[in-house]
C-alpha cells in the first residue's frame, strides 16, 4: 500500500518548498521583534508576586471587598491602605527612588485588587441573573440551556485567584491575538496547496497513478506527509511562541486558574492557565489538520496550487472575520453565531467559546459549543479526506 521511501519523498516534496521556510523565518522574526519590545519591561520585571501571602490574606477580608465594591472598583492605592497590610506598602516604598518602578507597582496594586473583586462580583451577578431567568422559564432549548448552565455554575468549582503577574494573560494571548494563529494557518495552506495540483503542473500524475502502489498508496503517503507537516508547523511555531513569551514576559511564578486572567471571569473552565494554553495548542493542531484536509480536498480537483491556496484561505479568513464580527449570544448558540463559533480560528483561540458557558442545541440535545466546534471540525476533516480519497482514486488523466 505504501512504503517509507514514498512517505519520505512526500515529506521532502512539501518541506523542500523554499517559500515555506522563508515565510516561516519572516513570520517568526516578526513575532520575535514584536515581543522583544516587552523584554525586561518594568511592569513585567517588578511585580507584586513576592507579596502574594499578604495580599491573599487581605482580599479574604469581606469588609475590604465591600469597600471596593462601594467605590465601583475604582479604589486608589492610598484608599486601600486600611485593608492592605503595611509590608506591601513597604515593599513598594523601597522603589521610591525609581519613579517608573514605584508608579508601576502602585498602579498594579490598585488595578489588580479592584479587578479581582470586580471579577468575583461579575461572576456572582451573572449567576444570580441566570437564576432569575431560570425560575421563570419554560421548556425551550434556551430555557433548558439556562437551567443546565446554572447547574454547571453552581456545581463546578472555578477558582478566581489573585493574578499578580501579567505573564499568565500573555500566555493565553499567544493563540488569542488574531494575527499569529492566522499566520500559522497561512503556512499550512502554503505548504499543502500544491500537494496534488503540483503533480498536474509538473506532469507526474500518470507516473504516480500507473505505479504499483497506485492511487490508494499515493493518497495515504500524501495524507500522512501532510499530517506530519501540519504537526511540525504547529508544534514548532507554538514552541517558538511559548519560548519567546516566556523570555519576554517571564514564566509566572505561580500557576493561577485561567478564570483568574482578564476576560475569563465567567468561564466554566476550571483548569490552570497552562492547561488552557495546552488546549489552545491542541485546538490549533486540530484546526491545522482540518484546514490541511480542506486544502488537500480542493487541491485534488485543481490544476493550479493557487486555487486551493485562495479558496482555503478565504474559508479560514472569512469564518475568522465573521467570528470576530458577529456578537455571540449568551447561553445558547444560534444559527447566526455558529458559522463563527465553529470556525477554525475559534478552535485555535477557544477564548470566546469558554469566556462564558454556552451550549449548542443539536436536535434538542445540549452540547457545550466548544465541544460542537471540535466535533464539527473533526467531521469536516473526515469529509474532506473522504472526498479527497474519492477524487484521487477516481482521477482521470485527460489532457
Amino acid at each position: 500500500m505504501m512504503n517509507g521511501s514514498m512517505l519520505k519523498t512526500e515529506i521532502y516534496k512539501i518541506f523542500s518548498k523554499r517559500v515555506i521556510w522563508i515565510s516561516m523565518a519572516v513570520f517568526l522574526t516578526l513575532y520575535l521583534v514584536l515581543k522583544l519590545q516587552f523584554w525586561d519591561n518594568v511592569s513585567i520585571r517588578y511585580t507584586l508576586e513576592p507579596m502574594r501571602p499578604q495580599l491573599t490574606e487581605a482580599v479574604e477580608n469581606p469588609a475590604f471587598h465591600e469597600f471596593v465594591r462601594k467605590s465601583s472598583y475604582n479604589c486608589s492605592t492610598e484608599e486601600m491602605r486600611a485593608f492592605v497590610p503595611e509590608p506591601v506598602y513597604e515593599y513598594i516604598e523601597q522603589y521610591r527612588g525609581n519613579e517608573r518602578i514605584y508608579r508601576s507597582l502602585n498602579s498594579d496594586l490598585a488595578g489588580i485588587l479592584n479587578n479581582y473583586f470586580e471579577r468575583i462580583d461579575q461572576r456572582e451577578a451573572f449567576i444570580q441573573e441566570l437564576a432569575q431567568k431560570v425560575s421563570g422559564s419554560g421548556g425551550t432549548a434556551l430555557d433548558r440551556a439556562k437551567a443546565r448552565l446554572l447547574q454547571a455554575y453552581r456545581e463546578t468549582p472555578v477558582p478566581i485567584e489573585l493574578n499578580l503577574e501579567d505573564s499568565a494573560n500573555n500566555f493565553i494571548d499567544v493563540n488569542h491575538a488574531a494575527l499569529f494563529p492566522g499566520l500559522i494557518m497561512l503556512l499550512v495552506i502554503a505548504g499543502l496547496a500544491g500537494i496534488y495540483s503540483d503533480e498536474y503542473t509538473s506532469g507526474t500524475q500518470s507516473a504516480l497513478l500507473t505505479s504499483r502502489q497506485g492511487r490508494r498508496g499515493v493518497f495515504l503517503s500524501k495524507a500522512i506527509a501532510a499530517g506530519i507537516f501540519v504537526a511540525g508547523v504547529v508544534l514548532v511555531t507554538e514552541a517558538f511562541f511559548m519560548v519567546v513569551t516566556a523570555v519576554c514576559y517571564r514564566v509566572p511564578s505561580s500557576t493561577v486558574s485561567a478564570a483568574s486572567t482578564y476576560g475569563l471571569s465567567l468561564t466554566l473552565y476550571g483548569g490552570s492557565v497552562y492547561g488552557f494554553c495546552l488546549r489552545q495548542v491542541l485546538g490549533t493542531l486540530l484546526a491545522g489538520l482540518t484546514l490541511g484536509s480542506i486544502v488537500m480536498c480542493i487541491s485534488v480537483f485543481s490544476k493550479s496550487a493557487l486555487i486551493p491556496f485562495f479558496a482555503a484561505g478565504a474559508y479560514y479568513g472569512g469564518t475568522a472575520i465573521y467570528a470576530n464580527s458577529v456578537p455571540f449570544p449568551r447561553y445558547l448558540s444560534s444559527l447566526w453565531s455558529l458559522p463563527g463559533e465553529w470556525s477554525l480560528f475559534m478552535l485555535q483561540t477557544q477564548f470566546e467559546l469558554v469566556e462564558a458557558g454556552r451550549y449548542t442545541s443539536i436536535f434538542g440535545l445540549l452540547v457545550p459549543t466548544l465541544a460542537t466546534n471540535a466535533v464539527f471540525n473533526l467531521l469536516l476533516m473526515a469529509a474532506c479526506l473522504g472526498i479527497c480519497y474519492w477524487g484521487y482514486t477516481g482521477k482521470q488523466v485527460r489532457g
Binding site: 500524475q205 500518470s206 507516473a207 500507473t210 505505479s211 497506485g214 482521470q396 488523466v397
Partner: protein
C-alpha cells in the same frame, strides 16, 4: 500473455475520441500510427487505466485490468507524451521515488537505478537537478522511469520525440532488446522509427482503427502503388490535389516526388519499393 482491447469507446462530452476499438496484443512490438487527434493518446491512457472507457473493456489474459489493479500495474511501464519530473529533484532521487512507488526500495532500487542510468547514458548526470536537464535528457529519464519495474507491458507515447538521432538509435535498440517476452505498444510521429522497431502497426483515424497488420504485410500490399517521378513545379501543384504525395525533393529545376495511389499516375514515373511512410500517406492522403 495477451492484452485485449474490446469494443473500447471514449466520449468527452459530445465528442467521441475513441470509437469502438478492438484488437489483441501478444508479445511483440506494436506501433500505433495516426495523425494528431486520431485518439492514440486517449487509447493509450485507457490501456494504462488512467482513463476509464465510456464503453468496452481492456483485458489482460481475459481479466479486466480494473479488477487486476496493482497486479496489472506491477506488469506495466508507461511513458506519457509529456515527461513529468520534479525539477528540484536529482535524476537519482526522482527515480528512487518512482521505484518506491513501484514497490522497489533500498539497495535493490539503487542497483536498478544505476543500471538504468547507465542504459540511457545518464550515469554522470544522475546527481544533477532535473531542472537543468534538456528535453532529450528528460525523455531518457522518462525511459529509465518506465523500465524501473522491469515491465512486461510497455506503453510508450511518443517515446522518441525530442531525442537527437544518436539517442533515437540508442532508444530503438533498447526497445528491440526489451521486446522479447513483452508487449510493447508505442506511438510515434517518426514513422521511420516505427519501421525499425515495430513488427505490427495499428493505424488509427478519427478514433477508430483504419488498418492493422504486420509491417511486412502492409508493405507487400503497397507494392505497385508507389511511384517516383520528376515533375515541373506546375505539374507538382496540379498533382497535389489529386494524389497522395509522399516525399518530395527539389531536383534539376523540378521536383522529385513519391506518388502514392492505387493506379499509376498519368506521367513518366517508375515504381519504387514502398516504405512505411507510403502506407501512412496512402491511408491518410491529404491529411499528411
Amino acid at each position: 500473455m495477451e492484452l485485449s482491447v474490446r469494443n473500447v469507446t471514449k466520449d468527452f462530452g459530445g465528442k467521441r475520441a475513441v470509437d469502438h476499438v478492438s484488437f489483441t496484443l501478444s508479445c511483440g512490438v506494436y506501433g500505433l500510427l495516426g495523425p494528431n487527434g486520431a485518439g492514440k493518446t486517449t487509447l493509450m491512457k485507457m490501456l494504462v487505466d488512467i482513463l476509464t472507457p465510456s464503453e468496452g473493456e481492456v483485458l489482460l489474459d481475459g481479466v479486466n485490468i480494473r479488477e487486476l489493479g496493482a497486479a496489472y500495474r506491477d506488469k506495466l511501464g508507461y511513458m506519457p507524451q509529456e515527461i513529468g519530473v520534479y525539477k528540484n529533484f536529482s535524476a537519482q532521487k526522482f527515480l528512487k521515488y518512482i521505484a518506491a512507488l513501484k514497490g522497489i526500495t533500498g539497495r535493490a532500487a539503487d542497483k536498478k537505478i544505476d543500471g538504468l542510468l547507465d542504459l540511457v547514458g545518464l550515469r554522470d548526470a544522475g546527481r544533477k537537478k532535473l531542472g537543468g536537464f534538456s528535453g532529450g535528457m528528460l525523455r531518457r529519464v522518462g525511459i529509465a522511469q518506465t523500465l524501473l519495474n522491469d515491465p512486461k507491458i510497455l506503453i510508450l507515447d511518443e517515446p522518441t520525440a525530442g531525442l537527437d538521432p544518436q539517442e533515437r538509435i540508442r532508444f530503438r535498440n533498447i526497445i528491440s532488446e526489451l521486446s522479447e517476452n513483452r508487449i510493447v505498444l508505442l506511438s510515434t510521429h517518426i514513422v521511420s522509427d516505427m519501421e525499425f522497431i515495430a513488427g505490427e502497426v495499428i493505424i488509427m483515424r478519427e478514433g477508430g482503427i483504419l488498418k492493422t497488420g504486420a509491417i511486412d504485410h502492409l508493405l507487400r500490399k503497397m507494392e505497385g502503388k508507389v511511384w517516383s517521378a520528376l515533375v515541373s513545379h506546375e505539374e507538382f501543384h496540379r498533382m497535389k490535389g489529386q494524389y497522395a504525395i509522399g516525399n518530395m525533393v527539389q531536383k534539376n529545376g523540378g521536383v522529385e516526388i513519391r506518388v502514392i495511389g492505387p493506379q499509376k499516375p498519368p506521367l513518366a514515373c517508375e515504381p519504387v519499393k514502398p516504405i512505411l511512410e507510403d502506407v501512412f500517406s496512402y491511408y491518410f492522403g491529404g491529411d499528411v
